[in-house]
Symmetry: C2
Subunit: 344 residues, 2 copies
DNA sequence: GCGGGAAATTGGATCGTTCCAAATCCAGTT
DNA sequence: AACTGGATTTGGAACGATCCAATTTCCCGC
């Protein structure tokens, strides 16, 4: 319980060799003689030595950590992503510096500034809503490798920056869901939920609209309903779908939370999702598989995305010279009962 | 994009003062004259200086990080806990070193060893299932403050250790749910689900039994049903409740997953939870509020637990001498429709 | 017994910061 | 002009590891 930690100097003194030799043993160099190595190793164990990586990193001018900044950890999608990042970083001998911002750009600035002081080898940032690329550029400086995940901050000149980008294939995902509903015979299909100005919502709307037009259908303005990306707001705005001149028989929803909210809202109007009205989501959160009805949605494998992000940032740390990479991760349509509705 | 980071020496040279003076300015000491301070600050901005906290920590022999090791980040309960920890640590100027173990004790050992090398000011550990206190003691050593969250590793001699402990008030929670059902007039109440050997299940069963006896009722052996803590297994074992000589009219469930499973199982037997049979859960997962019927359960506020854990570990880092603390966090009964059943 | 070359070991400087004791500065007194 | 004492400033040694050039040890053949 008393203070002072054991250092290489203590070990060196304890077994009559120099600090340099102890250091060689610690790093598994082949230089030390077998007998010396054994002697040192015994002493390390005897004194309960713990390596001080901070000191080593200082001398070696390198870093053994990567910062991970997450906008919303309580969202299982991001929590899984974080787990994936940590898993891959750990396997590569790096440690994860966590920062969560709770979707606040101001807090994000503070968190990033604090993490930068710990000299991370790279930064994986899932930006808070409303992040500004210029402010980000200010805290992050120009030296540290950065990977932006999932959504685009405003005012980023990607062409001029060295930031990597990794996002889901929102456009194709929404198109897959839309085509699925079209194949089931639906023609009046709405796009429900999300903040229209967010980059992910824009992309999903675009995929939806393209799939519609590819079948010769033009989405009506009344079929776009904007909501907060939460169950509650989605439920509250269900009515908006039924004021349109041509009432939709199905909806591609911005994400699962919104879809579940819509199903609640439909229930309140006496409509059964999956029977009177078809619904699809996005994300495949655990609840999607067990809701009533089970939700047709797009699986994104956030854990694998996390591993991918970690590997990419480490690769960039190794070779800072290569140009920025834009990665779009595939999504997979999972068909369940909620899209089984008959056509009204 | 080129290498070399700016150091105090660069700043000192850049504005003709000594390193020591720059350091004083950096730390906001009142010693430097206003004019000097201004000059230095301008230079700091001009060169885009970033503080190197690792170097400072080395010199000052202190640490500005706390390690957080989580058994299962993809569980929203723990993800929320992590968010709370990070929030409180960040507010106190500390950084979170994250490690996730995926419920593997072996990986937990590796993760802890790696984190220890970064010299954290403390460790918050939510142990993997099957953790062994002796192995933990080996990696953690005896110097670093430790707080164990939520479950007890085996073979820990708490009386001899300096580890803090923080868990939910399982016993009182189960008692609250039981009393609630008793007040609604139920007399034949079962305790449904969970692995009897887990510490949390033991505690909850105990709270239930105590509440029953306090009303002069003796729980019958047939009223204890063991299940895996999952929806599926709970649904499958519903029948066991109805083989008893005196068939229960209500059940206190081990957790929400089990309760939701039981409600499914009841439905399959033609019974409506909340109408023909009363059910309570534990955890208040997001789904509990929106299931049909909505689930009466115990809210545990994991985020607040996280803040609490962070504050406790920082307090201990400040004063390592005080004895170990065992903390039991309150839980709150949330009454919803699932416990509204009439008495059969 | 000795020169020579490989193998093993080592002292001292260094990473970027802070600590500390000592040095310098600058009125204001005598 | 010398002196005083508070306010500022500063050089150099740490912190715990690693790098590097230099030194010591060891073994071999002659």
């Amino acid at each position: 319980m008393n203070g002072r930690r054991v250092t290489v100097t203590d070990i060196a003194r304890g077994c009559g060799v120099s600090r340099a030799t102890v250091s060689l043993v610690l790093r598994g160099s082949p230089l030390p003689a077998a007998a010396t190595r054994a002697k040192v190793e015994a002493e390390l164990k005897r004194q309960g030595y713990v390596y001080n990586r901070a000191a080593a990193n200082l001398r070696q001018r390198r870093s053994s950590s990567v910062a991970l900044v997450i906008n919303d950890l309580s969202n299982p999608f991001f929590a899984d992503f974080a787990a994936g990042v940590d898993e891959a970083l750990g396997a590569a001998g790096y440690v994860t510096l966590l920062g969560s911002t709770g979707e606040s750009p101001e807090r994000q600035q503070r968190v990033l500034a604090s993490l930068m002081e710990h000299d991370p080898a790279g930064i994986i940032l899932s930006p808070a809503e409303g992040s500004d690329g210029v402010s980000l550029g200010q805290v992050l400086g120009v030296h540290v490798p950065v990977l932006v995940f999932n959504r685009e901050p405003s005012h980023v000149r990607w062409s001029a920056s060295h930031w990597d980008y990794l996002a889901l294939d929102n456009r194709r995902g929404a198109a897959l869901a839309t085509r699925h509903l079209l194949e089931r015979g639906h023609r009046r299909i709405a796009f429900f939920g999300g903040h229209a100005e967010s980059s992910s919502c824009r992309d999903r709307r675009r995929g939806y609209a393209e799939a519609m037009r590819a079948t010769g259908l033009e989405p009506e303005p009344g079929w776009f309903v904007e909501t907060a990306p939460t169950r509650l707001d989605a439920a509250a705005r269900t009515a908006s779908l039924f004021t349109s001149r041509r009432i939709p028989t199905a909806a591609v929803c911005y994400n699962d939370a919104v879809a579940l909210g819509l199903m609640l809202g439909l229930g309140a109007r006496g409509l059964a999702a999956g029977h009177d009205f078809a619904v699809t989501g996005f994300d495949d959160i655990p609840e999607a598989a067990v809701s009533t009805p089970a939700l047709t949605t797009l699986a994104t494998d956030p854990r694998a995305r996390g591993r991918q992000a970690a590997e990419r940032i480490l690769e960039r740390a190794r070779r800072p010279d290569i140009g920025a990479v834009r990665g779009i991760a595939p999504v997979r349509l999972i068909i369940r009962a909620s899209s089984e509705a008959n056509i009204a």
